[in-house]
């Protein structure tokens, strides 16, 4: 589904990613762990097409096509979803209207029929239940005045509505208390399916107690320095990132 080959990327003149190799197959859950500044969020941003990042070398193929040539909205239409580390507030636009506009834009681009207001309302209410979101929050402005936990639940709700093929979750667990973490994890697990892959970016192992990954990769200074199964996350939790600081780049998984 996703093949990242020797990806190098810079922000301004500063190289951040220095040769990432990663292959994700349909149905798999991959976790990317790493210390602050290792390039985790840059990877998520490059994959979703955020401005300000320059790919200087390497390729990213999504379903066999050059992902990097696509605009962010085309990536969304192709089934890629980015869960933001810092979800953006948009005063003046209700959550409902935003998600309906987004879903219909994506459906149109995929050649599917748009949902009318009634069908959409039915869908959104059902999806909101999964993340235990009060329906009143749907008529509030997008993320405006939401707590940290509510914002992250709103991200998972959007993911549930858009039903992506590849979900990239950028530090979705940061700033969550244990209750919110469980709700968010439940939302993610509800979407796990053989037709969908996840790239879960996180600093801590705790999210991975709830969302069990198939593979764990450790990012350090812009390279994947170690890859393994879910037990790697536990090992990291015990030994800390210092353990891998001088490790050599891992071989391609």
């Amino acid at each position: 589904m996703l093949e990242i080959k020797n990806l190098h990327a810079s922000v301004g003149d500063k190289p951040i990613l220095k040769g990432i190799h990663l292959t994700i197959k349909t149905g798999e859950v991959h976790a990317i762990m790493g210390p602050n500044g290792s390039g985790k969020s840059t990877l998520g941003n490059v994959l979703s097409g955020r401005e300000g990042y320059t790919v200087t070398e390497g390729d990213v193929l999504y379903e066999g096509k050059n992902l990097l040539a696509l605009a962010p909205e085309a990536r969304a239409a192709a089934g890629i979803f980015l869960g933001f580390q810092y979800p953006v507030e948009i005063p003046g636009i209700t959550n409902n209207y935003f998600m309906k506009t987004a879903l219909n834009a994506v459906r149109r681009a995929r050649g599917e029929k748009e949902l009318d207001a009634i069908d959409f309302l039915k869908l959104i209410k059902e999806k909101a239940k999964v993340v235990e979101m009060d329906p009143s929050m749907l008529s509030r402005s997008v993320n405006e005045g939401f707590s940290g936990g509510e914002k992250k639940r709103n991200e998972i709700l959007q993911m549930g509505v858009l039903e992506p093929k590849l979900a990239i979750l950028d530090e979705t667990d940061s700033g969550l208390d244990i209750d919110a973490l469980q709700i968010v994890s439940k939302g993610i697990n509800a979407l796990r399916s053989p037709g969908r892959a996840f790239l879960v970016i996180t600093h801590y192992q705790r999210l991975l107690n709830y969302v069990q990954p198939d593979y764990v990769h450790v990012l350090s200074a812009g390279r994947i320095v170690k890859s393994g199964g879910k037990e790697l996350a536990h090992e990291l939790e015990q030994k800390g990132y210092g353990w891998l600081e001088n490790a050599k780049p891992a071989t391609v998984v």
Binding site: E51, P72, E73, F81, I90, T101, A102, Q158
Partner: protein, 272 residues
């Protein structure tokens, strides 16, 4: 209300007791004590050519009266429009003004409000949408004369192409106007590098026990908001329109007449 003649006035609810007099150049309106009305004032295009509209309205609000005043200015592309409103607000009376400057070559909106009685209140809201070579000016004065007055002012401008928007707002708190509570805000959204916003929020306070604040912003569409929307599948154009609409909709939500609110919503959607 569906077809616009220029100018058109409508008083809601229809009330024979309201005195609304004068020529089309200068009118006076007195809202009797304990009466609540809404006034809708609309200016539609008289022609596509050059012409000028000048209006003056003096409003007197007796004690405990309330006027909600809507003004929608949508003149022809080459028209100039100067309107001035002078409002005298009595004790515990309320004046709410919602001004929408939507069309015309050069628009000048002047509002002077004097809060003459204790516990008098006013709210001045405005939205100006200018594009091409349009120039839209707002000059407001709120004069707090007596104690316990409240004023709220929020003007928002959306400026595209080479358009120019002006907000020039003065709030005066006189020596006797203790316990005044006042705030004044002007926000501008620039959609092009050639558009220009001039803002001059000003406070003059002569009393010593008051709560007053004011501020102004001039900005562009936020790249973070744009990316957030696009990452969810909205095209660049859709995202832009949605954000412009979001900026304007705060002002439209203040409108309490559903039919008028819908007209304004549609206008903004078509323009964005």
């Amino acid at each position: 209300m569906t077809t616009l003649t220029a100018p058109s006035y409508e008083i809601l609810p229809a009330n024979a007791a309201i005195k609304f007099e004068g020529s089309s150049e200068r009118r006076t309106l007195t809202v009797p004590a304990n009466t609540q009305i809404s006034l809708i004032e609309k200016y539609a295009a008289q022609s596509a050519g050059i012409y000028s509209t000048q209006t003056a309205l003096t409003v007197t609000l007796e004690d405990h009266a309330k006027l909600t005043h809507y003004k929608i200015v949508q003149e022809g592309a080459q028209a100039s429009h100067h309107s001035s409103v002078e409002v005298h607000v009595g004790a515990s009376a309320t004046y709410h003004s919602h001004v929408f400057l939507l069309g015309g070559f050069h628009l000048r909106n002047t509002i002077h409000v004097r809060l003459h009685g204790e516990h008098a209140e006013c709210m001045l809201n405005g939205l100006y949408l200018a594009s091409h070579d349009q120039k839209m000016e707002n000059h407001t004065l709120i004069d707090h004369v007596k104690p316990h007055g409240t004023s709220r002012e929020l003007y928002k401008g959306i400026l595209d192409d080479q358009a120019q928007g002006v907000f020039d707002g003065l709030i005066v708190v006189q020596k006797d106007a203790q316990k005044t509570d006042s705030s004044q805000t002007n926000k501008n959204l620039l959609l092009s590098t050639k558009a220009k916003a001039i803002t001059n929020p000003e406070l003059k306070i002569f009393a010593n026990d008051v709560k007053c604040k004011h501020g102004a912003t001039i900005g562009q569409l936020s790249p973070d908001q744009m990316f957030y929307l696009r990452s969810r599948g909205l095209s660049q154009e859709q995202a832009r329109r949605l954000l412009i609409h979001a900026f304007a909709s705060e002002m439209i939500q203040f409108v309490e007449i559903p039919e008028l609110r819908d007209q304004l919503q549609h206008h903004v959607e078509d323009r964005a």
